[in-house]
């Protein structure tokens, strides 16, 4: 049985439907992420799970029991707020002890559990300090310890890494995965950062305008996006408007107006003549000299318009015959040589027949 179930949840704010008929099922032990741009309804869902807001329609079940009308303090789950929401008048230990005191645990037990939780987040030596004396990353970890200390069924994290700088963020991501694995508590994470979602999650629900666009494992989401929005939101991608020329068992032939034909594969029964998009990740594209590409099946000719040398990789922007621009990422792995093409070079972009995905409109 699912640990947490959202059944046809709808939430309106006046005329705005912030969450539209959302259903989700989250298993125990899962690291589940709600990913989407700001205003997509992800935080509203989190607040409804936390008990700070109630759905207008639908039901939220925890362990099969409805949470309707259950106040936040009676729900066996905690939230790590975006601002961390540490109590400024309490020490680190006081903050972490708070949920245990509310649960009326004996003092000795509280002391032991606080020490345990603080060592889990490597803050054993900061127990007596106050929140204002800590760095952002340390505050983040206090909030995490406070949320985990009385072993909730579920931990909700609201953009919890958003306030950290890039380097610290990466460290915390690694640590978050390790902590989640160590405590085995189900995490529901909300973020607008797709890289963070991919790095952390077992499963991701991509949201837009109050709806779930796709709910899948990170690699599936990345390699088999369900539609244009997901393809574009999760990672970088090149999209070509195409029409289906021929669809067979697995072989698919597409026509990109002004560019040429594309050979791809797709197990779905597609109708000849239907229109959609062909999506191609930049790192799956190779850039070669035009004469090398003549006999390749999937290739478009163009000219290098711009390039961004990023150290480990170089991002090429290639302008195609129809005026569109394709982004291709080439790793700079060859020793002693970083740039393969210069701005203005006539080149061809090419890819394997199974590199891209056809997205129906």
């Amino acid at each position: 049985m699912a640990l947490l179930e959202l059944k046809n949840i709808t939430r309106r704010f006046g005329a705005l439907e912030a969450v539209k008929d959302v259903s989700l099922s989250i298993a125990a032990g899962e690291f589940f992420t709600l990913l989407g741009p700001s205003g997509c309804g992800k935080t509203t869902i989190l607040r409804m799970i936390g008990g700070f807001d109630e759905p207008d329609a639908g039901d939220i079940l925890l362990d099969g029991k409805s949470l309707a009308g259950v106040p936040p303090e009676k729900r066996p789950l905690h939230t790590v707020f975006q601002s961390y929401a540490l109590f400024p008048h309490m020490s680190v230990a006081g903050n972490v002890a708070f949920p245990l005191e509310m649960a009326r645990l004996p003092a000795a037990e509280i002391k032991r559990r606080v020490a345990e939780a603080l060592s889990l987040v490597h803050l054993g030596d900061k127990a007596a300090q106050f929140p204002h004396e800590l760095s952002g990353g340390q505050r983040q970890r206090v909030a995490l310890a406070r949320g985990l200390v009385n072993k909730p069924r579920l931990l909700l994290l609201d953009e919890s890494l958003g306030a950290l700088d890039a380097k610290l963020r990466e460290e915390m991501q690694v640590e978050l995965i390790a902590i989640q694995r160590a405590v085995g508590i189900t995490f529901v994470f909300v973020t607008h950062a797709q890289d963070e979602a991919l790095a952390l999650s077992h499963r991701i629900a991509v949201m837009r305008d109050g709806r779930i666009e796709q709910c899948d494992e990170p690699d599936k989401l990345y390699t088999q996006p369900a539609n244009r929005f997901v393809a574009d939101f999760v990672g970088k991608i090149n999209l070509f408007d195409v029409e289906v020329l021929a669809a067979g068992k697995a072989a698919l032939k597409l026509a990109a107006p002004g560019l040429g034909e594309i050979a791809a594969s797709d197990p779905r029964p597609l109708r000849v003549g239907e229109r959609g998009a062909f999506a191609l990740r930049p790192e799956l594209i190779r850039i070669v000299d035009q004469k090398e590409a003549i006999e390749l099946k999937n290739r478009f000719f163009g000219r290098v318009k711009e390039l961004l040398y990023l150290g480990d990789v170089t991002l090429y922007k290639v302008e195609l015959a129809n005026g569109g621009v394709v982004e291709a990422l080439m790793t700079n792995a060859a020793p002693g040589r970083a740039l393969f093409h210069e701005v203005g070079d006539a080149v061809a972009v090419c890819w394997r027949h199974d590199a891209g995905v056809y997205l129906r409109n």
Partner: protein
């Protein structure tokens, strides 16, 4: 350099206007003369006389009682108003709470008098003074509490609930400690306002009940004896102490009001 000298001079003159009259009052409270006109010699007899002046002591007792009660009630109600203003963001609430603060005292005095007499048919006395003082103090407390809250991360209140605190426990363990400096400052501010209020009290006191400011006023109608200076000096000491305490407990309050 010249401009700066001028600024110093202007500041000096201004402060002289503020504090010289007060200094004179204090000085002449020790004057060994029936009149305030000329310095004769040092004495503390006016303070001794004050201690045996039953009318004066009665007025002082009334003032203290009303100040204690009204600032306590105003602090509780004002804190509730401040919390409500911050939490619910009802559009007209700040307006409703703050209007008595901005209202001219004379107007508030007349309005309260008419209300007490003609609407409530209340016998004027300690109770009517108390209600009036609570009325003009609430707004100050509410403003101070709200100023304190608006500088704070509001998710701490939700976090308390989220971590298992009932609404009451969340208030006691998180909200109350966080607004405590504002409550202390608001209380002291209300106390100061109450203990030296003259205009509103004058309207709603009725006959027979008097407070310290009213008593001083009735004394100077006869003659300004150094006894008036002595009682004024004491009142000044109390007020200054409270202002000092308020600024110590909540240093941001004086800034927020500026």
């Amino acid at each position: 350099m010249k401009a700066r000298h001028w600024l110093w001079a202007a500041a000096l003159v201004t402060y002289a206007f503020f504090y010289l009259p007060l200094a004179v009052v204090v000085l002449f409270s020790f004057n060994d003369s029936q009149l305030n006109a000329q310095w004769v010699g040092f004495t503390t007899s006016w303070y001794a006389k004050l201690l045996h002046d039953d009318e004066m002591l009665g007025a002082a007792a009334n003032s203290l009682l009303i100040a204690l009660l009204s600032s306590t009630i105003a602090t509780v109600l004002g804190a509730m108003a401040g919390l409500a203003m911050q939490r619910y963001r009802v559009r007209f609430l700040p307006f409703l709470v703050l209007t008595p603060v901005a209202m001219p005292e004379i107007l508030l005095g007349v309005a309260l008098l008419l209300f007490f007499r003609q609407v409530l048919d209340l016998t004027l006395g300690l109770a009517s003074i108390l209600i009036a003082h609570v009325t003009f103090s609430i707004g100050f407390v509410a403003v101070i509490v709200r100023a304190r809250l608006s500088g704070m991360d509001e998710s701490v209140f939700e976090a308390a609930r989220d971590l298992g605190a009932s609404p009451w426990a969340a208030f006691r363990r998180v909200t109350l400690p966080l607004i405590l400096p504002a409550l202390v400052a608001g209380y002291l501010m209300s106390f100061t306002l109450s203990i030296d209020d003259f205009v509103i009290t004058f309207f709603v006191a009725g006959v027979g009940v008097t407070t310290l400011p009213l008593q001083i006023y009735s004394m100077i109608k006869v003659a300004v004896t150094p006894e008036v200076n002595a009682v004024s000096t004491l009142l000044m000491a109390v007020t200054l102490t409270l202002v000092f305490l308020a600024s110590r407990f909540a240093p941001d309050v004086l800034k927020a009001k500026a």
